[in-house]
């Protein structure tokens, strides 16, 4: 078949291009980077086109033995859940490179971004735990460099904190993976790190709980969930614009994606066991970070905390453990990527002009930079979850899903989101409305062509998927259904069977005539 190796090409093309890029002359590197990222984005669109949403299970699978004696294979494949995050990753790399302003050592930056793209795509296509871990860890290195070399005054502290936090969490996760492989070995007599094989393993509840905790450390730090979130404001505060954009749009999604890919289907009983605690943590995360965001004086920190706050909704939706909730949270991952990525980019537009991110320095920008204010306004509306924008669909479905598990917690979360709208709107008002108070802002130029090239597509996606989410939502829904029915089948305890509804029965009950 024509698309046999498309995933490998998608993973390794940017890395190979980055290696060749060392030869490219400094002045031409921007064009080279854009070209490579555009090809990669086009490839991911081809993947989307070739993806068949009606097929249940993984597609475009490839398997090459790496260390067969220990059950490690280069095993990749995608389903509806990973497909769109991959497209999101290639999309953001493209517009990220395209929107790069004048930075020092541009060549190093672009090559690093291309390496980073490899690791990002790799994480989302990997179906072997070790391969997943390889890309997961490898993604830290380029990000470390981006924050540490191009960041603000505290960049070194921030980059090391980012690295060590995530590294520690993932090592605990690695122990969990090794245990999982060991249990698989005990059960079947062969070693395997294939996630698909692990799905078939039914573990006793107490094992599930311990393994869930081990994996949780790795994922929760990445998301980042309260109370492990402290690295993120530093990372965002110090990172250059492009670093924040990629971090918020893609890297954080690795954590929530891994919950859906690993924790839920592998440990259904433990997921039910931890559902309420995690929901409580998520709600704390939503409320607490929203309050912190309100107190920030730096607009980038406002966006950063609001980004954490919304990640809480994603986790909440994931742990609804039903099709609506999980589909909603996967959709919200895409939405959050688009919106928070765009917001960081917008903050960067102002920073490029004034080299400050303080809200007190802004004020009345709407009259000086009308286009900028309009785009910012649309993105703020999307961020607070205005209906007919992309975030609304995801948030609504996530909350709807969780409503079926607990009315009170959902109500709390819903209120928190509404309250959360206050700080975004307040920050927006402070920055854009009123008269121009700061003389330095008076002569600012509005967004230029390069910035528009990056921002307009984001606006279009925000509105398009807000109005008509079906092309994305449907493949996600189909894949989530298969995960949920797997969970339902695997669950041992009666409570878990009840909490995780079987999607096919549900449809039959609601009068579907399939």
């Amino acid at each position: 078949m024509m698309f046999d190796n498309i995933l490998s090409i998608l993973v390794f093309f940017p890395a190979l291009a980055a290696l060749l890029g060392f030869v490219v002359e400094k002045g031409s590197i921007r064009a080279y980077g854009i070209a490579v990222a555009a090809v990669e984005f086009a490839l991911s669109l081809v993947l989307w086109y070739a993806y068949d949403p009606s097929v249940v299970g993984m597609q475009f699978m490839e398997s090459i033995p790496l260390v067969p004696a220990f059950g490690i294979h280069y095993l990749v494949g995608i389903d509806g859940i990973s497909l769109f995050i991959i497209v999101l990753a290639t999309f953001f790399t493209l517009i990220g490179i395209a929107s790069l302003g004048e930075v020092s050592r541009l060549k190093d930056m672009i090559l690093t971004l291309l390496f980073l793209e490899m690791t990002m795509v790799g994480v989302f296509v990997a179906l072997d735990a070790v391969v997943f871990y390889v890309f997961w860890e490898l993604s830290l290195v380029p990000m470390l460099y981006i924050i540490g070399a191009w960041g603000g005054p505290l960049r070194i502290y921030a980059s090391i904190k980012f690295f060590l936090y995530t590294f520690t969490g993932s090592l605990v996760m690695l122990v969990g993976m090794l245990f999982m492989a060991y249990f698989y070995h005990q059960a079947t007599g062969v070693w395997s790190f294939s996630i698909l094989e692990w799905y078939r393993l039914v573990l006793p509840e107490n094992f599930q709980i311990w393994l869930f905790v081990a994996f949780f450390f790795g994922f929760a730090i990445k998301v980042p969930m309260f109370p492990f979130h402290t690295w993120l404001p530093y990372a965002h505060g110090q990172a250059p614009t492009i670093g924040s954009v990629i971090l918020a749009a893609i890297l954080l999604k690795m954590g929530t994606y891994a919950f859906v890919r690993f924790s839920l289907p592998m440990f259904p009983d433990a997921s039910v066991f931890f559902m309420v605690p995690i929901a409580v943590i998520s709600i704390i995360m939503i409320i607490y970070t929203a309050m912190v965001a309100y107190a920030q004086e730096d607009i980038k920190q406002v966006v950063a905390y609001s980004s954490v706050s919304h990640m809480g909704v994603i986790v909440l939706g994931t742990f609804a453990l039903n099709v609506e909730g999980i589909s909603g949270s996967v959709f919200l991952m895409i939405a959050h990527g688009v919106v928070s990525g765009a917001l960081f980019m917008l903050v960067g537009v102002y920073y490029d002009r004034r080299h400050t991110k303080l809200l007190s320095e802004m004020g009345g920008l709407a009259s000086v930079m009308p286009h900028y204010a309009t785009i910012f306004g649309i993105m703020v509306m999307a961020s607070v979850g205005l209906p007919l924008t992309i975030n609304f669909v995801g948030e609504f479905l996530s909350l709807l899903g969780f409503y079926k598990q607990s009315h009170i917690l959902t109500l709390l979360a819903g209120t928190a989101i509404i309250v959360g709208a206050i700080y975004m709107l307040a920050a927006f008002k402070k920055a854009f409305f009123g008269t121009v108070t700061n003389e330095a802002n008076r002569g600012l130029k509005d967004v230029n062509g390069r910035e528009l090239f990056a921002l307009i597509p984001l606006v279009l996606v925000t509105v398009w998927l807000g109005v008509y989410p079906k092309p994305v939502l449907e493949p996600i829904n189909n894949s989530v259904e298969s995960i949920v029915s797997l969970m339902h089948e695997k669950a041992i305890t009666q409570e878990a069977k009840m909490r995780i509804p079987n999607p096919s029965q549900q449809e039959a009950a609601s009068g579907g005539s399939h």
Binding site: V67, T168, V175
Partner: protein, 501 residues
């Protein structure tokens, strides 16, 4: 009247001695050449050493074939024992030596390399280590260990700086103490079992059901102390950073690899039979030793200001990490040890060689040691290639996949998991995280700080083609280790399993 001693030459099975004999002949021929004509260039001696090491390697490959078809080979009154462990460790020793010896072809002149004795001692040392691993006779182990150690002390001292003398004397004193402990421990074991061969000691102890448990305890404690010095386990590690600092970077890298694999093999032979006896306190002592060595060395490494000292502490920590294999004692763990150490050879030698290429003859004003972190500040903008390579070795040491040591760590932690040591597995994982910090510190200096030395080529002042080739080889193996892991692992597991470990 005494009966005539009648021994046939075949029963001696002299072929078991061939690898060591090759090394010794190599050493003697270097000395002979020097007798015939003095003042020859060091490249000649390097190449002769390499040739003999190559022959040595050939003999070892012959053993591999033999072992595969016939199993363990004994010889020389059953003193020589050529089993899978012996062959594997000798392979590591010889390959590491072949990587090390070209590092003497530096572009700067260091006077020790102009003495042919340097190379002769080097070959004698290799023979000593080879004897040490290819026997389970405590006396021959002792002889091999001392031959190798005495040669090594001299090699350190020949570097001819005041710190080198200090290092050599320190190492010598500690080594002498360790030798004393070893001799005493052997004596105790001989006293309670009537034998100096490890397998006989084990069966004698098992036969009377560990009746002399008090003596066993004494013997084990002395042995542990002796190996503690040689493997630089905490609290016997205090010499390591000073000795590494005083030696040339190349030799320090060599010391972190070869003497340790030899000691690991002996420790494996000795302690695994004892651990399997089910004596709880021995397991506890080893457990504590492993955990303390990993953790404490990591914490000390955090506060070092000199890269070489940091690498010294890091190598202590790696030794502790690998020592866990001897505690766990399964075939998987023991194979993991060899896999880890094979990959460690390339990564660590690469890292030390990177220090070696930027070795200055004289210190700059304000510079307190040879390799302070500040020296590497901003390397990415002055020497991007060097910075990337150094970062690669650091990432591998930190266990970032897919580079070399990640696979070693994966196997080691995996074997702790399957051996039932859950807490140990977690401690090993968390230690890797602590270690991440100090490896990262160097990367931070290289990539994120502004350069302090603008002089181009400063970092490569000691580089030559042969140094660059060795570093390149180490880098290639480190990067592409993922392809090597499977064949290596199959080979190692077969060798270890068929030796009964």
């Amino acid at each position: 009247m005494l009966e005539a001693v009648n021994i046939s030459l075949e029963s001696l099975n002299l072929v078991t001695l061939s690898p060591m004999l090759i090394a010794i002949v190599g050493a003697l021929s270097i000395l002979t050449i020097d007798l015939v004509k003095v003042g020859l260039h060091k490249s000649l001696y390097v190449m002769i050493s390499l040739l003999f090491l190559l022959l040595d390697l050939g003999a070892l490959f012959h053993f591999v074939d033999f072992f595969k078809s016939n199993g363990t080979m004994m010889g020389f009154f059953d003193v020589m024992l050529v089993d899978g462990l012996a062959i594997l460790s000798q392979l590591i020793i010889v390959i590491a030596s072949m990587l090390f010896i070209p590092l003497s072809l530096t572009s700067k002149r260091f006077h020790e390399y102009n003495y042919p004795e340097y190379y002769a001692l080097f070959m004698f040392m290799i023979a000593g280590f080879q004897f040490m691993v290819a026997t389970d006779n405590l006396i021959l182990i002792f002889v091999g260990l001392e031959t190798a150690s005495l040669a090594l002390y001299t090699l350190i001292a020949m570097h001819n700086r005041s710190k080198s003398f200090e290092a050599a004397v320190k190492y010598f004193t500690m080594g002498a103490l360790a030798a004393g402990f070893f001799a005493f421990g052997s004596m105790v074991f001989y006293g309670i079992s009537g034998s100096v061969e490890i397998h006989q000691i084990a069966s004698a102890l098992a036969a009377d059901d560990y009746a002399n448990i008090g003596y066993v305890l004494v013997g084990v404690v002395f042995m542990l102390a002796a190996f503690g010095f040689k493997l630089s386990l905490v609290p016997f590690h205090t010499w390591t950073p000073d000795v590494y600092e005083g030696s040339s970077a190349a030799l320090a890298g060599y010391m972190s690899i070869v003497p340790k694999i030899a000691s690991f093999v002996v420790a494996m032979r000795l302690f695994e039979v004892l651990v399997q006896s089910g004596i709880v306190w021995l397991e506890v002592i080893l457990y504590a030793g492993v955990v303390v060595t990993m953790t404490a060395a990591n914490i000390w490494a955090l506060v070092q200001n000199d890269v070489k000292r940091m690498l010294a502490y890091s190598s202590i920590s790696h030794a502790g990490f690998v020592m866990a294999a001897i505690l766990i004692g399964t075939t998987q763990a023991n194979s993991g040890l060899f896999l880890y150490w094979t990959l460690f050879v390339f990564t660590n030698l690469g890292a030390f060689a990177m220090l070696w290429v930027n070795r200055q003859k004289t210190l700059l004003p304000g510079q307190s040691s040879d390799h302070p972190y500040e020296k590497f500040a901003g390397l990415i903008s002055t020497m991007p290639m060097a910075a990337v390579l150094m970062a690669l070795f650091m990432l591998s040491l930190a266990g970032i996949p897919p580079f070399g040591l990640f696979w070693g760590k994966l196997y080691m932690i995996g074997s702790a998991v399957s051996g039932g040591y859950t807490i140990l597995a977690l401690i090993m994982a968390l230690n890797s995280a602590i270690a991440g910090y100090y490896y990262l510190k160097l990367i931070v200096y290289m990539f994120m700080k502004e350069p302090q030395i603008s002089q181009k080529g400063f970092y490569m002042m000691n580089a030559s083609l042969s140094l660059k080739s060795i570093i390149g080889l180490a880098a290639v193996v480190t990067i592409f280790s993922v392809i090597l892991v499977n064949p290596l692992m199959e080979f190692i597991t077969a060798m270890v399993y068929n030796s009964g470990y």
